[in-house]
Symmetry: C2
Subunit: 84 residues, 2 copies
């Protein structure tokens, strides 16, 4: 079994209105030292053992569904979990 | 300057309709080996140097604004960035 952590973030060149909104909320709560906020998605996938290459599988799922590669970047970490 | 990565996930006991929807989409795209999908938020904060304790500061921002601690858990990683 695999535990895969996927991090999806907007590309640097893309405006992040959600991040800007959170930053101004933090400033209004007196956290002025926060100079930038970028918000993205974090996914935890559980994938059963199979004979496919796990990296190729995750990459394909990210490219086809999980990330919008026009405006988003993705990275992932694969952890093999040994069933007890 | 600090780069802080914040991971906000729904508590295990809380239903994740978004995760369930993504899982069924993946299954319909023939990725049947995916047995679970949990979706959360990933935030990257840039915080300027200040005399406050960075851990206490981030914890407070999470508790007060970034996470809804009734249904969400949060964890974060702090990285100090030395300005060149």
């Amino acid at each position: 079994m695999y535990k895969v952590k996927v991090y999806i973030t907007l590309r640097e060149s893309v405006l992040d209105p959600q991040g800007t909104a959170v930053k101004s909320s933090l400033h209004s709560m007196s956290y002025e030292t926060v100079s930038d906020v970028r918000i993205g998605k974090y996914m935890e996938l559980t994938i059963e053992q199979n004979n496919q290459d796990i990296d190729a599988l995750v990459k394909e799922m990210c490219e086809r569904l999980l990330a919008n590669t026009v405006i988003e970047d993705y990275r992932y970490e694969v952890e093999e979990v040994v069933a007890l």
